[in-house]
């Protein structure tokens, strides 16, 4: 096995690209990220590992805008993310310059995934160690979209997905609890999914909401705390209802 994870990404005898798989391991160690698509909003949530006391948390933005109608969150190597985000931002403007139209979510996802794939088939480079969740509204149809890419360069569209640490638990939760939602309900669903794996509190979660009219809005810590409180209250009420004796015969 050790002979087949050399610096260059080459196949192993049993058809694996170990560098890509190791990159996926790096993603699994990254912070949890979740994306949920609603009918009129799309929500991205990211786990915020405890900030060191002396760090300025504003300089560590984990959910970024690529264009006025596209945003991205990722799990994995943040330095690799910086490079990909920069290339994607340039591509968004370049597309607008050459064809006078904004990119579709699918186009920019395909571009990012294409970049990630290139680095699995080039000499002397290693794959990007991150999975990206890309959200946005289609500029023509106005439909909301959520896509995910991974280090191998594959991408697909999702109604809701999670990546990074404990993504399996979050995905299970989403599969069980997903339904078409809009507005605040979508935000709550995303936060509930994150709370499955993250310590509760606005301090540990970063949430951003994309709407067609106003683009990306990062939620304030106080807003997140308020919604978390709502969710906890709902959970407590549900627990109480279960425990209360049924009055129906």
């Amino acid at each position: 096995m050790a002979r087949y994870d050399r610096a260059i990404t080459v196949f192993s005898p049993d058809g694996h690209l170990f560098q890509v798989e190791y990159a996926l391991e790096a993603v699994r160690k990254g912070n949890a990220a979740v994306g949920v698509r609603g009918t009129d909003v799309i929500v991205l949530g990211v786990e915020k590992k405890s900030t060191p006391k002396l760090q300025d948390s504003r300089s560590v933005r984990k959910i970024v805008s690529l264009d006025t109608h596209i945003a991205l969150a990722c799990a994995g190597l943040k330095a690799d993310a910086r490079v990909l985000i920069n290339r994607a931002r340039i591509e968004c403007q370049s597309h607008r310059l050459t064809v006078e139209d904004p990119v579709t979510v699918e186009y920019i996802t395909r571009y990012i995934a294409g970049l990630q794939q290139k680095y699995t088939q080039s000499g002397g480079v290693r794959p990007f160690g991150l999975s990206a969740l890309i959200i946005g509204f289609d500029p023509y149809s106005g439909a909301p979209a959520l896509y995910q890419t991974d280090p191998s360069g594959t991408f697909s569209a999702w109604k809701a997905n999670a990546t990074g640490r404990n993504s399996n638990s979050m995905r299970e939760f989403l599969e069980k609890n997903y339904k078409e939602t809009s507005g605040q309900e979508t935000v709550k669903l995303a936060i509930r999914a994150l709370l499955e794996v993250v310590e509760s509190g606005g301090k540990n979660i970063e949430i951003a909401v994309m709407t067609k009219e106003q683009g990306l809005r990062q939620l304030e810590e106080s807003e997140i705390d308020a919604i978390v409180a709502e969710i906890e209250a709902e959970k407590a009420a549900a627990e109480a209802a279960k425990k209360a004796p049924s009055k129906d015969s």
Partner: protein
């Protein structure tokens, strides 16, 4: 015979430009918008070779937007002006752009400003400026009537005076003008001054 001129008033900057698109003796259209809104608080009035004008100003606009996405804050007007000048200077001894530019912007900390950037990459920060044959008339008019801190009404009156001069004294004067303004509330179209209206497309 393209005319672009602009001035700085009290808390705002105005840019006016003619709106005819001409090829030798043919007028393609009389409602061509030559003042690009660069970002929320910047205007770019340009005159020159039609292809270069659109190509260069769109290129500057996309780069200004890219800066804003990369850095989370918009470029200042001075930085945008210097960037524009730099691009013109780079291209100058290879394949120069034939575009003259008046860049007007509003910054929260310093207020309105106007920059004169000509096709050989001259850059000046000015209170009033003009390009084209019309500049002979509009600059003289502004020299006579401009004073710093003009109110919006005074400034628009001055712009109208300049347009009247251009219309009476320039042999092939453009029929229509567009005026755009940038102030603390952003960059937007202010008014059109039309003598020829393109015919409405008849509806069925």
């Amino acid at each position: 015979m393209e005319c672009v001129f602009g001035l700085v008033g009290d808390g705002f900057a105005l840019v006016a430009a003619d709106s005819s698109a001409v090829n030798s003796i043919l007028v393609h259209k009389s409602n061509e918008d030559k003042i690009m809104i660069l970002d929320s608080h910047k205007l770019l009035g340009a005159s020159g070779e039609a292809g270069d004008r659109v190509q260069f100003t769109e290129y500057i606009q996309k780069n200004v937007h890219l800066y804003e996405f990369r850095n989370g804050i918009p470029l200042s007007t001075a930085a945008a002006a210097n960037f524009t000048r730099g691009e013109l200077a780079q291209a100058l001894r290879k394949s120069p752009y034939s575009v003259n530019i008046l860049l007007a912007g509003y910054d929260k900390d310093i207020g309105p400003s106007l920059y004169y950037i000509d096709y050989i990459a001259t850059l000046h920060k000015v209170d009033k400026g003009a390009f084209g044959y019309g500049s002979f008339f509009s600059l003289s008019m502004m020299d006579r009537h401009y004073h710093s801190g003009m109110s919006l009404k005074e400034a628009v009156d001055l712009v109208d005076k300049c347009i009247v001069e251009i219309r009476t004294r320039l042999v092939v004067s453009p029929p229509n003008f567009v005026i755009k303004i940038v102030d603390k509330d952003g960059a937007r179209e202010y008014a059109w001054r039309e003598t020829i209206k393109d015919a409405e497309v008849p509806t069925a």
